[in-house]
């Protein structure tokens, strides 16, 4: 645990404590675990986003990728098809769309903010043009959020998310690729002169993020049972929020997967606690905004404090 991760963890504990004080119905395990289902899609996007932001880039198109993958899967997979086909289509389509982003950024040298701003509109636009105002039924694997790990109240999607996050954490913190990401984000120029494959590093990060957005589509479709072009608007911003609150520097180079996971749990816990306390949704949005600013400020403060000699 580093300083920057302590901030969201501390806030998370505070929120859990506050939640338990304001409502006796908050600390109810089945309810909390069930509520986590609503944040799995954001969580998967945030895991990928951690790599992209660590590279010093941004991906605004993730929610549109999710929606387009969901539409592709619902249109192409026949009802009752083998679940493996559905997973393959979702993740494969996501990886392809991520590759488009990666190619635009790494090869065509379009700044990622602009490139993904464009694909954000384009991907959703394609989904809208293709689907029109209609919903498409999810072909198979419905109600994953109601399927529990045998003999417990733990639904599958959050478990899958945590496993994915743990694997991604290993990739980021324990492999050569992870070191490339940190190096590219710290200084692309220095990384290039050190002979690191800067373009490939970014390409992989965007492709991976796309693939995870495709996986998010799988959970989205299974949770709702139908998909349409206008789902998960603004989810890319919630994912970016989780990454930044988790202590990843928006300038790249610094960050941890644990921070992202903790921050996502923080936002999920805060929203769930406010919901069960009857706080109006419009107020909830404000509180999450304040949390974001507070967490970033606290992260900066802790960095400042640590530069001083320790007092007895």
């Amino acid at each position: 645990m580093r300083w920057r991760e302590m901030v969201p963890l501390g806030l998370l504990l505070l929120v859990l404590f506050w939640g338990s004080r304001v409502s006796p119905r908050f600390l109810d395990a089945p309810y909390l675990l069930d509520s986590m289902n609503l944040y799995v899609e954001t969580g998967l996007l945030a895991v990928g986003m951690t790599f992209v932001i660590m590279c010093g880039e941004i991906d605004l198109s993730v929610a549109s990728t999710t929606v387009l993958c969901a539409c592709v899967a619902a249109k192409w997979c026949p009802p009752g098809c083998p679940p493996s086909l559905l997973v393959l289509v979702c993740v494969g389509a996501g990886a392809l769309l991520g590759l488009v982003n990666g190619a635009l950024v790494a090869w065509a040298r379009v700044p990622s903010f602009l490139a993904t701003l464009a694909t954000m509109a384009a991907f959703r636009g394609v989904a809208q043009a293709w689907m029109g105002p209609y919903s498409a039924k999810w072909p198979v694997l419905k109600g994953l959020d109601r399927a529990h790990v045998v003999g417990s109240a733990v639904p599958w999607p959050p478990v899958v998310w945590l496993v994915v996050a743990a694997l991604a954490g290993l990739l980021l913190h324990r492999t050569v690729y992870g070191r490339w990401v940190a190096a590219v984000g710290t200084s692309p120029v220095a990384a290039r002169f050190s002979g690191l494959p800067v373009e490939r590093t970014k390409l992989i990060a965007f492709t991976m993020t796309g693939a995870l957005a495709g996986l998010a589509a799988l959970f989205l479709g299974s949770r709702l049972g139908v998909v349409r072009h206008d789902l998960v608007r603004g989810l890319e911003l919630e994912a970016i929020t989780a990454v930044v609150v988790g202590g990843t520097s928006i300038l790249g180079g610094q960050g941890t997967m644990l921070g992202t996971v903790t921050a996502l749990l923080l936002v999920a816990a805060a929203k769930t606690a406010m919901g069960v306390a009857g706080v109006k949704p419009e107020v909830q949005v404000t509180v999450v905004g304040v949390l974001l600013v507070g967490a970033v400020l606290a992260g900066n403060m802790s960095a400042l404090v640590r530069r001083r000699p320790a007092r007895a």
Partner: protein, 351 residues
Amino acid sequence: MIRTLLATVLVAGIFVAGCGTSSNDAATTGGTQAKSGALHFVFVPKSAGNPYFAEVEKGLQKGAKELGATIETQAPTSADATSQVGTIKDALQRGVDVLVVSANAPDTLNDVFDDARKKGVIVLTVDSDITGNEEHRDASVLPTDFAKVGPALVENLASLTGGQGDFAILSAATDAPNQNAWIAGMKEALKDPKYAGLKLVDTVYGNDEPEKSATEMQALLTKYPDLRAVVSPTSVGLGAAAQVLETSGQYPGGPKAKGPGIELTGLATPNQLRAAVEKGVVKKFQLWSPADMGEIAAHLGAALHAKKFLPEEGKSFDVPGLGSKTFSAKGVVYAGPLVTFDKANIANFDF
């Protein structure tokens, strides 16, 4: 990495451990009574900040007062298809007896509605039903017989334009079930030979966002120089369109009107269009009473919760002050016919 995993497990552990020590009394059957005795309603409109739903809420409040029930409104921040799921889940956890929901989408609420009904909660849709999935809710209070809205809008349009000219429709979201039903009704009514002079040139969607609606209206004025009229069957759309029309000066008798000018009409709350009617930008428009819908929903919810009757077709029940209401097919109750608002009568309404 080991530390990371450990910390993750620790956080999860805190969650579960914390849960273990809580007093879990939410999962009672027969409704999750928030306060013992008083019936508790939760109203979930389509989105926050829509005056139309504030009016439905007023009606619910009035009905609740008469019944000695409590009401709380939880509006999702955006009107997309999934935003209401979390809001409803939270309400179920907090405790609710009757859910009154204006559905944003016809098919994304089935699961959460089923969960609610399993707990003994009465689920009503109001204003916007889950068309095609009616079996997932108990009953629905709809504004007016939809089959009559389209023809009424066309008749109103014909009286404004003398039954001649090109017109466009400014709607809400592309998949708003009520909007689409009315637009289909208008198209059907236009087939009548007496409306042969009216030509629908375009249907555009403002998503019930003032800004997008204004942009779409602006585009219509630019794209169709011969436009004679615009019909917007949504409060937000008509309000935004009226402002654009006023600024453009192309309203009947306006400084930049070509010939007779552009007529604007549709469905909206009187307060939203009061200024436009007084300035002559809009001559007349229509609506039902959203407050009546709320009031009917309150009384209906309470009656169903007390198992006084079942929502069967043909069954009638009384709503104090509003008379007798009758169930149509699939547990639908219509609030009443459309009212036309113009300069002469708009002062009598305040919603």
